[in-house]
Subunit: 67 residues, 12 copies
């Protein structure tokens, strides 16, 4: 039966945490196939001069390993 | 004095995690009364062909039990 | 070398969890200097008559302590 | 063989955390049968004018499901 | 979209932890519909005279709430 | 909207854990305004000659930050 | 320098959780010397006919090992 | 000295959780060398019509990196 | 009232995790009396040449201390 | 009786994690009195060109609040 | 097959956390045989007049139980 | 924007935990580029004849994924 792997990546965005998760997913699509799901594990942000300059969302990505 | 109960539900949405939480809340309103609060406990998503097809938000709902 | 401190605050909003985090950040800027980052630690909400009346986001704020 | 269920409730009291747990248990007895145990999972309190006005104890209640 | 609920139950067995999980599932089928998954959260056992007399498996059951 | 802060303090007492929490709250009232709630995070004790000589209760205090 | 050991015990009582912790401590004094502290790690209870028949407090006891 | 890496995979099976862990291990052997150990981190299952149709075991695999 | 102690042991087996737990229990019976329960806290395994050569199950054993 | 507060700070160093903890402690001494203990909660590091350029140690500092 | 036990001890030192772990290990060697490994679970310290006077390292020690 | 990945490795050393972390980092530099940070997640050790023969430090390494 199918075996999947879980990989942890961090996406970033200047717009928000949901966009940061989408960016991580876009990048994962370049090198991984068989993606089935993601889970958010952390949401943080870098701040400069009192404002968020980079939203960061940590996600765990699950993808099916090919036989 | 009042006694409350905590119930765990999972809402889903094609738009985003906040909308998924709102959907869970809407469904809870159909069968529960006396809701006082929610807490997000997990945010994950189902992926097909590299795109999120279903956002899922796990929430814990607190509601007052009637005497 | 630089020493930073971590402080935990709770922002609130009638719009959403991201806005609640922004409100917490705005308030922190009034009294703290040298902010470098935030991390979301909890997202909950107050409910009245079945609707969210107040979104609350708990964040940990890191700021550099002056020499 | 017997199957049990675990339900999470929050009791409140103006006297203390142990009394709040007892109140939660009293309420549970009204609707549940076959209770076998409880476990305290959280103890918090609401404060007004610097004094505790409501003690709250979160408990997990285990009860045997009837066949 | 669909909303699911998570319920925590404890199955028991004289044979083993996997059988205890199956017993919990069998009982859940009597009262719940739309089951989609389970997750094991705890495995313990009661011992008498140095031998396991009752295996207990705690599981979280997810089931779709009807519209 | 209102922004709150969370501060962690440890109260002590020779009588018990609940009294230790009350002592922490009394001290907090001297320097903080706008307290809205507390949560117990740890209960430990110092022992001498086999007896508890000091009960200690760790609490997280939430208080509204003034505008 | 001194080396200490940590041992986990469960005290029980028909009166309350604080008394259960005291009972565990009394028993520990019979076989251990050099006790320096305890920490509560769990509070649960056995229930019969809707009432608590046995309070149980799990504590971690620290004691200095003799040279 | 040797450096090892830890990878998280999910094995599945129609027979049980132990078999699911074995399937994950078999697949890992196809692409990884120098495996030294595994640890189970999660056991869940997919359910259809009230029965488990797919057991899933999450494992962390440790393997020595070649120089 | 009775006071119990909790001890953590690791059983091993060439057959499986449940057998490893049984082996730990057998060994505990040689030196401990009054065992009332066990809880599994970890399941891992040693691997050689791609195969599990030793299953290991960590269990917490509870036993009543004699008066 | 005495009431203590816990504050979380991050020390940094180019030498190592223990030195980073010492730097955090030195800075705390400038503004806080009555320090009684620290606990390490996280050890991480910033890397540039494959080398650690800044060790960071997160510590929780306990200090007695003056009457 | 071999069964091991895990014991939790706290070593102390005036030099540092690694030395404190070594001191705990030295003491364990006086009464235990068959030690196979240790794991650090906590690092804290006692402070007097703004300086660390005692480093404390909590370790879990694993040792094989004799047949 | 940049997307990073987190990988978990275990370094070993006969000298100490900090050296073990450095060894893990050295090995990571052979195959990974764009390293930005590490975090220690576990420190354990192998013991033979009562002495530490191998220090092991688990670290999570973050590195930027190339476009």
């Amino acid at each position: 039966m199918a075996v999947a792997r879980i990989s942890e990546v961090i996406g970033s965005s200047t717009k928000g945490w949901e966009d940061a998760a989408q960016n991580a997913l876009k990048r994962a699509n370049k090198t991984l196939r068989g993606l089935t799901g993601i889970e958010i594990t952390k949401m943080n942000a870098h701040i400069e001069k009192g404002k968020i300059t980079e939203y960061r969302t940590h996600i765990k990505i699950t993808f099916i390993l090919e036989e």
